[in-house]
């Protein structure tokens, strides 16, 4: 583990692993809601920036969830994070 960003990616994937099997139809919403509610703005900004830059290491549903964060919708969403 090195650097804050690596840690954020790992944490986001951990969150994803919890929400993915839950009953609610949309686990992505669960992940996004959790990030929105528990991550400080600078953490959200850096994971969104990482997502914009391609989001290496992020699991699928997590990637999608990050795209739904307010922070990601701010400014040009581009076609980032695909």
């Amino acid at each position: 583990m090195s650097g804050t960003l690596d840690k954020l990616v790992m944490m986001a994937n951990q969150i994803g692993k919890f929400f993915t099997p839950q009953r609610d139809g949309d686990p992505v919403a669960g992940i996004a809601d959790h990030l929105e509610k528990f991550w400080d703005p600078r953490m959200k900004a850096s994971i969104v920036a990482h997502w914009r830059a391609g989001g290496a290491g992020l699991d699928g549903p997590v990637r999608e969830a990050i795209g739904r964060l307010k922070e990601a919708k701010r400014g040009a969403p581009l076609e980032a994070g695909r």
Binding site: M1, T4, K17, F18, R23, K37, D40, P41, M43
Partner: protein
């Protein structure tokens, strides 16, 4: 002020609901069936003379002083052992009784040293009192016969003396040790004249099984067992009821004083958490309050390699404010924050979060509960709707099956453990899920039916396997589920746990536990009439901590073990005010009462009262603060009463983070490890020096009362007020009670709480409001706080911290009875005689493979770092698992632990670290460097004489 006297009713209260009426000395009295005549007499204010009876233990009937006459019955039965009967007519004082009693007392006194005037118990001795009560005026046998008055004292215990020459062999101590404490350390050896009290097999107290709880000292009617502090100082003259500041049990004590000097702490019988019992820490380990290393003057320095400079409070507070303002101006509003302490009062914790949110204008406030029970809050809120345990401690008296997972109550929650042991001796069954063979697995008169010694990190898997058995064997309580839980969530969950990946056979292989043991434990838990779960940090401090808490909640819901006494999901909170610090809104995302900061209506309420705008975005959690500090975006921190450097994982990372900050402010009693990196040190006050409240593990709000003037000049809450004021944020309180009034106004679950109410009724458990004016002992009766109970899917995700060829063993950590967390307090008391250093427990097989012998120094290395300590070879740990405590900064167990953390809360994964152990000659280079840096950093500049 005077001493708080508690009535000794002689025998314990009867729990019967049937009532019996009798006449005692011409007065009618009605009491529950099963009450002793002695107790019934006390009810009408008549104290029958007694020596061997006391109401903390069952009557024994040996002294023959408490005799009474009962109309129509021959002889003179003992009133302590004779139960009341309907229509009984009892006389407690007749000529015949007077003569017998005098005779009994004569015998006692003839064998007793008559040094009353210089005896430590003079004025506080029941033998003296009884000699007076029976009118003893002279002793016919003289004092020259064979007697016991020249026996040697046992001074081995640091806190109390055993002087056998004064012993009247009433066996109150023996029974207290058995019945109240459950340790069975004492016996009466010999017979008749030769009988005497003995610790263990005629050992000294300190070498015996004794855990120094003090129950025997309290039960002793003479000076035989006496606190050394009373022998030194004299008997106290006034007392104040307050709350222990160590663990989450929250025991009530009488602080017995002489002037402003504390003479002793005596457990308070009316304390609803402890019911008159104590452990060695709360009872005896308070000497740190006067320790010579306690810092009493504020200090500042420019850089951490300079010595400290003592300054006035004005200068120190001014420095904090100007630095914090400068940092915000330069690096932005979010560049500073604060950490509240679970050791401080609710009021103090509330103030720190108010300072951060209102004064700093951000939500960068967190509490040390982050690193212990944050998953409890998240997990129980998601499933039940409330971030707290479901029961009171009394509940255990109704429990038939106790399931303990990841907790070691006899060491970490000793007084509750004693109550639990009492229930287990009465026949309740016991399941223990723990990698280590904790004491409760086998202890006098108790043996666990099932011990599942799972591999650290597999809790979620084991809980799923237990659920698998419950669902697939049809043991679920479908009626409860239908009535109180979300049915579709249950269906989904039941299908999930029934999957083959969760079968005991599959999970057993992962967790290193036999499938039969899992099945047995599951069946026992599900079939108990009342089954209760008790858990600790062995559940929460994992990367799946929150998942495991949800797993426990799922089990309790599926079996209907909620909503009545005897059942529930009960987190055993570590520190005294973990529950309170969470309740008070010191999490970065929540205001008091667990309301999210993004909720506009809640924020508006606080904004209106505080007159400050609040940020709707969550702030940084403790580990995130460290990362942000290293990244250069977090520059200043106010740490109240917590030693983050010693207690947080990956010490080197925390060191780097602290070193990267420009202003670290530490408020504490001692120059703790974090203070080595601080620029401002604000001396803190002890729990004896301030007013406030603590909330224990059962949500019980207990009063903390000031018994002496703060030696540092200010109570902790006053220091926070001063910082706020210097930063331009006035908080106008003149007493902590006003802070509680504000908390009550802003927090629905606390709406009914006030100091006035607490002073009147002793304590209350939140929610305490209009619906429950005297609080709520048991939660979720007749339905869950969130509406329907919510089953969550708890898929097992193995931690990324994995063993491999370089790090083949798993380290797990914990604490022991005599020390407390980072040990800042207990290490500064005589408790060190029981635990001078942290040691590494290792299985004989693993030790042999490495050529390690018992007592050898060993190196303990992980991916994060390494340290060295002594090895203790024991089969308490399974092969492949090693264990240590984290009480001593010389060891710094946390240099080894990693930053892996719980997915939901970032609670660190202290309980699983892959390590290697190898022989070593002594402390590591890192330990030596660390010790040097610490010593260098603790220098205080000598002030030149003026």
């Amino acid at each position: 002020m005077s001493l708080v006297h508690e009535t000794d009713y002689g025998t314990p209260a009867s729990k019967s609901s049937e009532m019996v009426t009798l006449t005692i000395d011409g007065q009618a009295v009605t009491v529950p069936a099963g009450t002793s005549i002695m107790r019934a007499a006390m009810d009408i204010g008549t104290q029958v003379p007694k020596l061997c009876a006391t109401d903390s233990v069952d009557a024994f009937g040996s002294c023959r002083l408490c005799l009474v006459e009962i109309q129509g019955r021959p002889g003179t039965p003992a009133s302590c052992t004779t139960p009341v009967g309907n229509g009984m007519v009892v006389s407690t004082q007749t000529e015949r009784l007077k003569q017998i009693r005098k005779g009994v007392m004569e015998l006692y006194i003839s064998d007793h040293p008559l040094d009353c005037l210089t005896c430590a118990a003079n004025g506080d001795c029941e033998l003296q009192d009884m000699a007076g009560a029976v009118g003893l005026r002279d002793v016919r046998y003289g004092y020259d016969g064979e007697n016991h008055t020249r026996q040697a004292k046992d001074e081995s215990n640091p806190y109390f003396t055993f002087d056998p020459s004064k012993c009247i062999v009433c066996s109150r101590c023996v029974r207290a040790c058995e019945e109240v404490q459950g340790t069975f350390a004492l016996t009466i050896q010999g017979r008749g004249f030769d009988s005497k009290v003995s610790a263990g097999m005629a050992e000294s107290f300190v070498d015996s099984e004794c855990v120094s709880c003090g129950a025997c000292v309290q039960a002793c009617p003479t000076a035989t067992l006496s606190e050394k502090s009373v022998i030194d100082i004299g008997v106290p003259e006034h007392s104040v009821v307050t709350t222990c500041a160590y663990c989450g049990v929250g025991c009530s004590f009488k602080a017995e004083m002489r002037g402003e000097e504390l003479v002793r702490m005596v457990p308070y019988k009316d304390g609803k958490a402890n019911r008159g019992h104590s452990c060695v820490k709360g009872r005896f380990a308070w000497g740190y309050a006067n320790h010579r290393e306690r810092i009493l003057k504020p200090m500042i320095r420019e850089t951490i390699d300079q010595p400290w400079c003592e300054v006035t409070w004005e200068v120190a507070i001014g420095r904090v404010a100007s630095e914090f303002k400068r940092l915000q101006a330069r690096y932005g509003r979010l560049a500073i924050g604060g950490i509240t302490s679970s050791r401080c009062t609710n009021e103090e914790t509330y103030l720190v979060q108010k300072l951060v949110r209102g004064g700093f204008g951000n939500n960068n406030v967190d509490t040390c509960a982050r690193v212990c029970h944050s998953p409890t809050g998240y997990g129980l809120k998601t499933t039940f709707g409330t971030s707290a345990g479901t029961q009171d401690f009394d509940s255990v008296e109704h429990t038939d099956v106790v399931l303990i997972i990841g907790a070691n109550p006899t060491d970490a929650h000793p007084v509750f453990a004693s109550r639990m042991k009492k229930r287990l001796r009465q026949g309740a069954k016991l399941i223990i899920i723990d990698p280590r063979r904790i004491d409760l697995v086998r202890t006098p008169h108790i043996e666990a039916q099932h011990h599942l010694p799972l591999r650290p990190g597999t809790n979620a898997a084991i809980l799923n396997a237990i659920a698998h058995v419950i669902v697939t064997e049809g043991l679920a309580n479908e009626k409860f589920v239908r009535e109180y839980c979300d049915p579709s969530a249950f269906e989904h969950w039941a299908a999930f746990v029934s999957g083959p990946q969760n079968s005991p056979e599959t999970v057993g292989l992962i967790a290193g536990v036999s499938a039969d043991a899992i099945r047995g434990a599951a069946r026992l838990y599900a079939s108990g009439k009342n089954s209760a779960i008790y858990y600790g940090l062995g559940v929460t401090e994992h990367s799946q901590g929150t998942t495991a808490v949800m797993g426990l909640a799922n089990l309790a819901m599926a079996t209907g073990n909620l909503g009545r006494p005897g059942v529930g999901v009960n987190p055993l909170r570590g520190q005294n005010n973990v529950q309170g610090s969470c309740d008070m809104g010191s999490f970065p995302h929540e205001l008091s009462g667990y309301r999210h900061i993004s909720d506009d209506a809640t924020r508006a309420m606080f904004e209106k009262l505080w007159g400050r705008p609040l940020d709707a975005e969550p702030g940084l959690r403790i580990p995130n603060m460290f990362d942000a500090a290293i990244d250069g975006t977090f520059k200043g921190i106010y740490v109240q009463g917590e030693d983050i450097l010693q207690s947080d994982p990956n010490t080197k990372h925390v060191q780097a983070a602290l070193a990267a900050m420009e202003c670290v402010v530490v408020q504490d009693l001692f120059l703790n490890e974090t203070a080595n990196y601080a620029h401002v040190f604000l001396p803190g006050s002890t729990f004896l020096e301030k007013d406030g409240t603590f909330t224990n593990a059962e949500r019980r709000i207990n009063r903390v009362r000031k018994v002496m003037t703060p030696k540092n000049g200010m109570a902790d809450w006053e220091i926070t007020l001063a910082i706020a004021k210097a930063m331009g944020f006035e908080m106008p309180y003149s007493h902590p009670s006003e802070i509680m009034d504000e908390i009550a106004r802003l927090t629905p679950t606390f709406a009914g709480v006030s100091f006035e109410l607490l002073d009147k009724v002793g304590s209350v458990q939140w929610p305490c409001n209009e619906k429950a004016p005297l609080g709520t002992p048991v939660m979720h009766i007749g339905g869950f706080a969130r509406g329907k109970g919510n089953f969550m899917i708890t898929e097992y995700v193995p931690t990324d911290e994995k063993v491999g060829p370089r790090f083949p063993l798993l380290l797990t950590t914990g604490r022991i009875l005599s020390q407390y967390n980072v040990g800042a307090q207990t290490r500064r008391t005589d408790n060190v005689i029981w635990h001078e250093e942290d040691v590494l427990e290792i299985h004989p097989h693993d030790a042999e493979e490495r050529g390690v012998r018992d007592g050898d120094w060993v190196k303990l290395d992980s991916r994060a770092g390494g340290t060295a300590l002594r090895a203790r070879i024991t089969d308490r740990v399974a092969p492949g698992v090693v264990y240590t405590t984290f009480h001593h900064p010389d060891t710094q167990a946390n240099v080894v632990t990693t930053e892996f953390s719980d997915w939901a809360t970032n609670c660190p994964e202290y309980k699983v670290t892959a390590v290697q152990v190898s022989p070593s000659n002594g402390p590591s280079d890192w330990q030596r460097e660390y010790a040097e840096q610490a010593e260098h950093s603790r220098r205080i500049a000598k002030v030149a004489a003026e």
